[in-house]
Symmetry: C2
Subunit: 204 residues, 2 copies
DNA sequence: GTCTATAAAGGGATAGAC
DNA sequence: GTCTATCCCTTTATAGAC
């Protein structure tokens, strides 16, 4: 077998896996893990039902891969925000913007997915624990940013970890609300951060 | 058949239905509709699997009944808050407190349930529409309270409907966060309402 | 009204041809 | 690598005895 054809095969493999992942992100995010059928994933990806199992061991296998990818992307995004900005306020602004925009590929559905993963109980103990630990890391890092912002006088006083929960809860609640598309609004970072600000912000 | 025995039968019927509903609220709330099995509901209610169908036509039948009950309870709670308090701020405070406390029976799980119902798509078009309309009513009424609070000088300026979305998103996000029990916090109404307040509130 | 046993349906996973 | 057909287990729903 020639070198070129091996690369071509790998290319197909990556493409197919990504097709299935993309379809699954949206479906898992919209309907939840249990309610999503393999056939729906393959339909959306325009592949046959059987082919799914050529690329993933099982439905759970795909799910776990997706969750870990997402959490890592969020952590990378925090890295990015911390590198790009010095001000804690601007760091959280950037994080909020990226989360709600499409620039984080399928950002919304992926965030909903991780909420679901943390929330439900169909995953093996060990797998769940790994995700929970990474999630705790995310919360810790946001709390640290908030604490620095308090020292810098940008944010209100209060337990940084508790404020981090309020902040993340709002972000996630807005993602859900907008995904539902019942009362769609344009989410702006400055409005999301109102509850952390020392002086009331009204701008958009 | 005597009059007394008819009433006794009805009593049993109501009790059994409530047992099943109570079990279902928690399970649907924790695991979602699709992931919850009839056998899990009957196990939790300490009844046999078959008996479920003596009291409900189907899994979906029970689900729809629950959702409608919840939405009506929320609307009643808004009525209650408006009657008990004149200040829009105090009205929202009461609504927030009741939502997060146990005084609204199974309040947390019920709220999560309605979020799920709005969000997913396994319900017949007509049923879904009824729920969506009631939800819109809830959002409208909260927006009206916020608007009155703006006039009274209690809340910040801005589109009342948009502020209502931010408020409800935070409430729902916190419910989810606490239900998950990863980073449990004591939710206080004054902290939830920070993002609506004209002057920053720090108290708990 | 309550239970156990069973039918019927749905969907995850596999086999094997192309 | 891709597809169709099929297996098989799980779960919803029903039947019928007590």
């Amino acid at each position: 077998m020639s070198h070129g054809s091996i690369e071509r095969l790998k290319e197909i493999r990556d493409t197919r896996q990504q097709q299935l992942k993309d379809a699954a992100i949206e479906l898992f995010g919209m309907k939840g893990y249990a309610a999503t059928k393999i056939s729906e994933i393959t339909d959306k990806a325009k592949l046959s039902h059987g082919l799914f199992y050529h690329y993933f061991k099982s439905k759970e296998d795909l799910y776990v891969q997706l969750i870990h990818e997402l959490v890592d992307i969020v952590l990378d995004t925090i890295d990015d925000a911390e590198q790009k900005h010095k001000s804690p306020l601007k760091q959280l602004e950037r994080l909020t913007e990226v989360t709600h925009s499409g620039s984080l590929r399928d950002g919304v559905h992926r965030h909903i997915l991780i909420m679901q993963a943390l929330y439900s109980d169909h995953l093996p103990q060990e797998v769940k624990l790994g995700i929970v630990n990474k999630y705790r890391t995310i919360m810790d890092r946001i709390a640290v940013i908030i604490e620095k912002g308090q020292i810098a006088g940008e944010f209100i006083d209060g337990d940084p970890e508790e404020l981090a929960v309020y902040h993340v809860s709002l972000v996630h609640g807005l993602l859900l609300s907008n995904a539902r598309k019942l009362v769609p609004i344009d989410v702006s970072a400055s409005k999301v951060l109102r509850q952390l600000m020392r002086s009331p912000e009204q701008g958009g």
